[in-house]
Symmetry: none
Subunit: 221 residues, 4 copies
Amino acid sequence: MATMVNNSQKRPANSQRDPEWTKGRLLDAARDEFADKGLSGARVNTIAAEAGVNKQLLYYYFGDKDGLYSEVLKRSYAEIRTGEQKLKLESFPPEEAMTRFIEFSFDHMVAHQHFVALLGDENTHKARHVKQSGQLIGMHERLEKTIGGMLSRGRESGIFKRDVDPVELYISIASLCFFYHSNKHTLSTIFDRDVTGDEEIARRRTHVVDILMSYLRSDPV
Amino acid sequence: MATMVNNSQKRPANSQRDPEWTKGRLLDAARDEFADKGLSGARVNTIAAEAGVNKQLLYYYFGDKDGLYSEVLKRSYAEIRTGEQKLKLESFPPEEAMTRFIEFSFDHMVAHQHFVALLGDENTHKARHVKQSGQLIGMHERLEKTIGGMLSRGRESGIFKRDVDPVELYISIASLCFFYHSNKHTLSTIFDRDVTGDEEIARRRTHVVDILMSYLRSDPV
Amino acid sequence: MATMVNNSQKRPANSQRDPEWTKGRLLDAARDEFADKGLSGARVNTIAAEAGVNKQLLYYYFGDKDGLYSEVLKRSYAEIRTGEQKLKLESFPPEEAMTRFIEFSFDHMVAHQHFVALLGDENTHKARHVKQSGQLIGMHERLEKTIGGMLSRGRESGIFKRDVDPVELYISIASLCFFYHSNKHTLSTIFDRDVTGDEEIARRRTHVVDILMSYLRSDPV
Amino acid sequence: MATMVNNSQKRPANSQRDPEWTKGRLLDAARDEFADKGLSGARVNTIAAEAGVNKQLLYYYFGDKDGLYSEVLKRSYAEIRTGEQKLKLESFPPEEAMTRFIEFSFDHMVAHQHFVALLGDENTHKARHVKQSGQLIGMHERLEKTIGGMLSRGRESGIFKRDVDPVELYISIASLCFFYHSNKHTLSTIFDRDVTGDEEIARRRTHVVDILMSYLRSDPV
DNA sequence: AATGAATGAGTTTTCATTCAT
DNA sequence: TATGAATGAAAACTCATTCAT
């Protein structure tokens, strides 16, 4: 699991007076606590203790619990969107580009399970915090264009037969990558099998790519 | 939204002394509150008030907040699994059976958004409550067989080309039906479009069936 | 320990309609619960459940929790005072009579530890319940006379040298018999030895008789 | 009654920010409330109000009601054991030392009736709290030695004729000093006389010393 | 920039007691 | 005589937040 806090970051010489380092520790601790318990279930006490700083600093830097939560969310969204842009998908042929995109999406969820948890929780709050951040919409216009580009290039080259809306497709990709992780505990329980093993995850990854690519390549009915 | 409480049920003559009716009202109110706020965010005060009964009755009948939550979850699971069995899928040709199953799954999520919310929240709690209910595993063995039956009949008749594990397939179906609703608020926000309109939902439904059926009908690579 | 409830009493044929039997069961259960937890700590639910009767019956027969407590106390006092009268102390020579009385007092506390506990608790309530029962004072006038009789007979025969007030002496006897049991848990803990074993109790009994008799037989300073 | 809280302590200049002073007030208030009502009957609201501090501080400093109770108990035990050590009994001839010890024990109970009440209540809870405090056993090993010293010195000088176990003797001393106070309400009621007046207490004190010293000085039977 | 002390409003839960049958 | 359902008041405890330094 990549939900590790980067506690390993070296504590700067006089960390007592390094606000950025302090903020970072708070954000890391908050991310883990919010992902684990949700906004309502999370405790500011726990976050401060885990970050090793005084509770009041949390208020000093982030205003209140919700402010901290918003910041954590924004960072998590930025992380995945930045990761996607780094893939340089426009430099690959459409089929490969799309495959890479799906695989990245799946792998990101595996490596950032806290993101999965946070999104689920944010929906419980009707996206109240996400709505306040104007920057997020911009991020996603770019994503929409990236996916649209792959699709039209694929259609032009004849490899993709489907004329599908980029957002519609993205939601399907996200669905298949997200649900498996967001609901792993209930799935493991009701089907009486562990879905979190490395093998299971690898098999799932192949299956997800399979479904989506076979759809894009197939003729509409 | 189909999250309506069946408050409309006629209040029996002597409702004051009808424990089943009282329990039912509590469960309805609890389902809505838990779905809306999650276990941590839900308030027993609100539940009792909404049910129109004394708060203590909640403890009298369900022990504590967690006990009530467990009962709500169990009922919600039973509801969908019962609905599936009522479809009589074994009496339809495999292709039609599978389509009906996917459509039912999608429609159930639309009509029971509280189920979507509850499952998400239960995963925050690592399926703690679901794990306690032994009955649930039995329910799902049956589901696995139902899906397995459709798949093997489809393979035999040559209509399905894929040799896929029933649970693996079910997770894909659930993913595509679930995520759209569980994450509707963040999706609507980041893509700046309303995903909850009737038209959008209808289009999505077609898309989901399309993806899954085209996968089953397509040849393995 | 004799704190056993006489559950063993045969349940009468139609116990459903035997008020005396029901009351008895309630009193037994109440005695144990009050002795174990005190008035504040005791639970009417527990008492009713332990008695195997409906909680409302408790209110029907005893009015309220305090009423039941008062009744239990009265019974316990009556038990020891009756026991003392049965000793027929006036028919023994004073020294033997007094020894028998002390031994009975000690043994009664051993056999009725609930009495010890109840008295301690009642003092927490400033004897509120005992004060309401007029009968108790009568019982104790008789006790005072019994002790007074032994003392004057002993003085007359020259065996007792002390001119001691009967109540003063009784309090000393009770002190030595009571405290050992009322405080057995703290004593065992702070002195790191078990004071509840049969041997320890037997040794203590001898010691108590020794102290008191040597006092009565000794010359005033 | 000597159960006075030392509310009279001067409130320090900036008492608002003096945690030790705050803790002290809470402990004083708690001691009185627990002694008066017992653990179950005591109310944290009352304690906080009486201490004049916010209720939450009680939890902040002592964890919960039981934690506060444990602390009160520990302090009360420490108080009496410290008082005993201050008597410097080893510097007096054995007879005088023992008399002083008995008198101190009696006087301490008179002056710290809350200690009497607390111990009684703690026994209701089977010494649950005392058991958790390791320090207490150490305190009592020392007490045992102190008593043992007086006894052997008395035996050597021929003034004490009895070969009695120090703990056995201590229990007798405690019995005679404790019971009179712990059960004063029921005693006053059943014997229809006030046992709490200054005269009665003084007479009782003499009687207790008399009993114990005459025992130690008397020849074994 | 950082801290420990303090707070008020709220949360779950408990409990003796009463109601309706 | 007996019962299960229902209640109101109060209990312990929690929690985000602010104060004083």
